[in-house]
Structure formats: structure tokens, C-alpha cells
């Protein structure tokens, strides 16, 4: 039986299997069709129906279930929904157990959340540091301008305030007003 205790391990292994079998497009199709439109249909229905309120309900439940130590902060304002992830339970599991088959595991999140947000009328600003920390800002697709200044939305909980956020050797990957994992910015 395939278990849920080590789900992130065989999930990550599956990304690599899909890429070896059908290339990057197959991995993207998997994130969209299997995860966004099937596995996470409960998240999809909530967010399509309720927007920011749906995001708060979904991530409030699922992050608490996956991360009982609450290594995250959710901030909902009138024009932005923000998540600061300080201790990602998913990437953290892989790091702790030395599991790395696929090039950038963290891309799976925007891989399924991106198409969902596109359908729900939102765009995403996002960065991850490949070490279990990331931040997300969802805004209506009509939003213009950049992402928030450090601390402006989530205050002291802003993950970018961590001394280890972008410490030496860490490579940040970023997205601006994106809904597609292929919209990743070139690393500077």
C-alpha cells in the first residue's frame, strides 16, 4: 500500500518518473489535471466560490493538518491573500530524509495552484528558497504593480525577514503575477 505518512517522498519520486517518461509537459499536465482538478477539488471549489475567504478556509485547514507546529502565517487583507511559510512540512520531509529526485520539488505548488488561481481570477507573486521557506501573494488578476515590501503585509511574520531566507548559497526562485510554473524568473 502507498501510504500518506511519507507521501511527499513518493510524490517527489513520481515527478521524476513522469519527466523521464513524458518530459516536462507531462509533469505540468499531472500537476494541473491530477492535483488541481482532481485531488484538490475541495480547494478548487472553495476558492472558485469564495476567493480570499476560500483560500483562508483551505490553507487554514490543510496547513494545520500537514504542519501541526504551525510553521506558517496566513494574512488576508482586502486586496491580497498572503502565506508566509517558515517550515514547509513537505519540503522539510524531503530535506530531513535526503530525498531529491526531481529538479525543483517546490515548483509543484505553483504547478497546481497557478492554474487554479488563473481559473479563479487571481495572479501570484511568489518566491521559494528551496530550504522549506517561501511566500505567496495572491491578488485579483487585474492587479498591477509589484509585490509587497518586506513586512508590509505580514509584519514580523514575513519570511523574508529571516536571517537565513537568502543567506549565502541559497538560490531564490521567483514568480511575478504568474499562474504558470514556466513563468519562473531568471535567477539573478
Amino acid at each position: 500500500m502507498i501510504g500518506c505518512y511519507d507521501f511527499c517522498g513518493h510524490y517527489e519520486w513520481t515527478f521524476d518518473w513522469l519527466e523521464r517518461t513524458g518530459g516536462h509537459d507531462l509533469v505540468k499536465a499531472y500537476w494541473n489535471e491530477a492535483i488541481n482538478q482532481d485531488s484538490q477539488i475541495h480547494a478548487r471549489n472553495l476558492i472558485l466560490a469564495e476567493g480570499f475567504d476560500g483560500m483562508a478556509k483551505y490553507w487554514g485547514h490543510t496547513l494545520t493538518e500537514e504542519s501541526p507546529d504551525l510553521g506558517f502565517k496566513i494574512t488576508k487583507e482586502a486586496d491580497v491573500f498572503r502565506v508566509d511559510m517558515h517550515d514547509c512540512p513537505s519540503k522539510g520531509f524531503l530535506i530531513k530524509n535526503g530525498l531529491e529526485q526531481y529538479g525543483d520539488y517546490c515548483d509543484h505548488c505553483i504547478g497546481w495552484i497557478g492554474p487554479l488561481m488563473k481559473d479563479a481570477g487571481f495572479v501570484i507573486d511568489h518566491e521559494h528558497n528551496h530550504c522549506g521557506q517561501c511566500w505567496w501573494e495572491m491578488r485579483p488578476a487585474t492587479a498591477t504593480g509589484g509585490h509587497s515590501e518586506v513586512g508590509a503585509v505580514s509584519g514580523e511574520h514575513d519570511v523574508r525577514l529571516r536571517p537565513d531566507w537568502a543567506s549565502e548559497g541559497k538560490k531564490l526562485d521567483g514568480f511575478v503575477k504568474a499562474t504558470d510554473p514556466d513563468a519562473k524568473l531568471p535567477r539573478t
Binding site: 502507498i2 501510504g3 505518512y5 499531472y30 482532481d38 484538490q40 530524509n97
Partner: protein, 173 residues
């Protein structure tokens, strides 16, 4: 026996900080199977499971090969202790380990979430289990499914009959 009461190191090679997994991940396993079956058919899905069994589970297979049936029994006790919602008994006999799944945690959660379960779902335990057992020099057979079943991991000398596909039930809500 409640595995958490046993005074020994866990047989699970990959450890989390929480004692049990998040059951909503079962939705993703079911969705992954649906995606693979749609894209590649039964043959491709089988190939995925066999490669998963030989690849991802290689550290466990090695432990089974080195430690034999006692390790297999301890592994499955630890495994089901970390899966939320199941009712499972693991019995070690002289030539086999029998895992009686009285209530499958996966099928139970898919049903409680009102998820359409791929009908081939229960065959994954057989395909994956046989691939893993083979790597460990063992044989595996499955009987039942759709919420309750019996897994048998045995030494070759036990002479288990070939797996009868008709012994495995289709899954449904």
C-alpha cells in the same frame, strides 16, 4: 499489538516529525492513479508501480532481504501505525507474514471524502507489493479489497499459489 508501545527503532526509512500522515494525501494517490491510467492505460500504470516498488522503496526492500520476515512484520506494524484511520492486524508465522486489513485507511478516507475511486485501486497493493517482495526474495499475494483485504508476504519455500486477479475486488464508493 500497538506498535507505538514497542520499545525498538522504527522500520520506516523515511521519518516525519508528526506521528501520522495527513489523510488528504490519499486523494492525491487516487488522482495520480486516475491520471496514469488515463494517459498510459493499465500497462503503463503497472510499469509505474513496479518501478516505484523497485526504486523509491529500495531501502525497505533491502532491509526485508537482510532481515527476513521479522523485519517485514515490524515494518507493516510501523507502517499502519503511521497511517490514520485503519484497523489492521499483522501476524508473523514461520514462513509468512499475514496482514489482515479489517478497515483500509485509504478506501475509508476516499469514501468519507466522497471521491470517485478508480476501480483498479486495490490492485496497486498487489502490483507494488509483488515488485517489492521480489526485490527482497519473497512472494506477495493479495486477497480481497474494496475496504478490507489480506496481504501475505512469504518465503519462496511457502509455495504460495500464483496471484489470481479475480481474488482482488474492484474498488468503489
Amino acid at each position: 499489538m500497538n506498535p507505538s508501545l514497542e520499545d525498538r527503532p522504527s522500520e520506516l526509512p523515511y521519518r516525519d516529525t508528526k506521528p501520522q500522515g495527513a489523510p488528504d494525501f490519499y486523494f492525491a494517490t487516487n488522482a495520480t492513479f486516475r491520471f496514469l491510467l488515463k494517459r498510459f492505460g493499465r500497462e503503463g500504470w503497472t510499469r509505474y508501480l513496479e518501478e516505484l516498488g523497485r526504486g523509491y522503496y529500495a531501502p525497505i526492500n533491502r532491509r526485508w532481504r537482510e532481515g527476513g520476515l521479522p523485519v517485514v512484520a515490524r515494518y507493516w506494524r510501523d507502517f499502519f501505525a503511521a497511517e490514520p484511520g485503519g484497523k489492521v492486524d499483522v501476524e508473523e508465522k514461520s514462513d509468512r507474514v499475514v496482514i489482515e486489513v479489517r478497515e483500509c485507511p485509504l478506501i475509508k478516507h476516499l469514501r468519507s471524502g466522497d471521491r470517485a475511486i478508480v476501480k483498479e485501486f486495490c490492485h496497486h497493493c498487489s502490483i507494488l507489493g509483488q515488485a517489492r517482495a521480489s526485490e527482497a526474495g519473497l512472494t506477495m499475494r493479495l486477497h480481497g479489497g474494496n475496504g478490507s483485504c489480506r496481504h501475505t508476504y512469504a518465503e519462496e519455500s511457502a509455495g504460495l499459489p500464483p496471484q489470481d486477479p479475480n481474488d482482488i475486488k474492484e474498488a468503489h464508493l
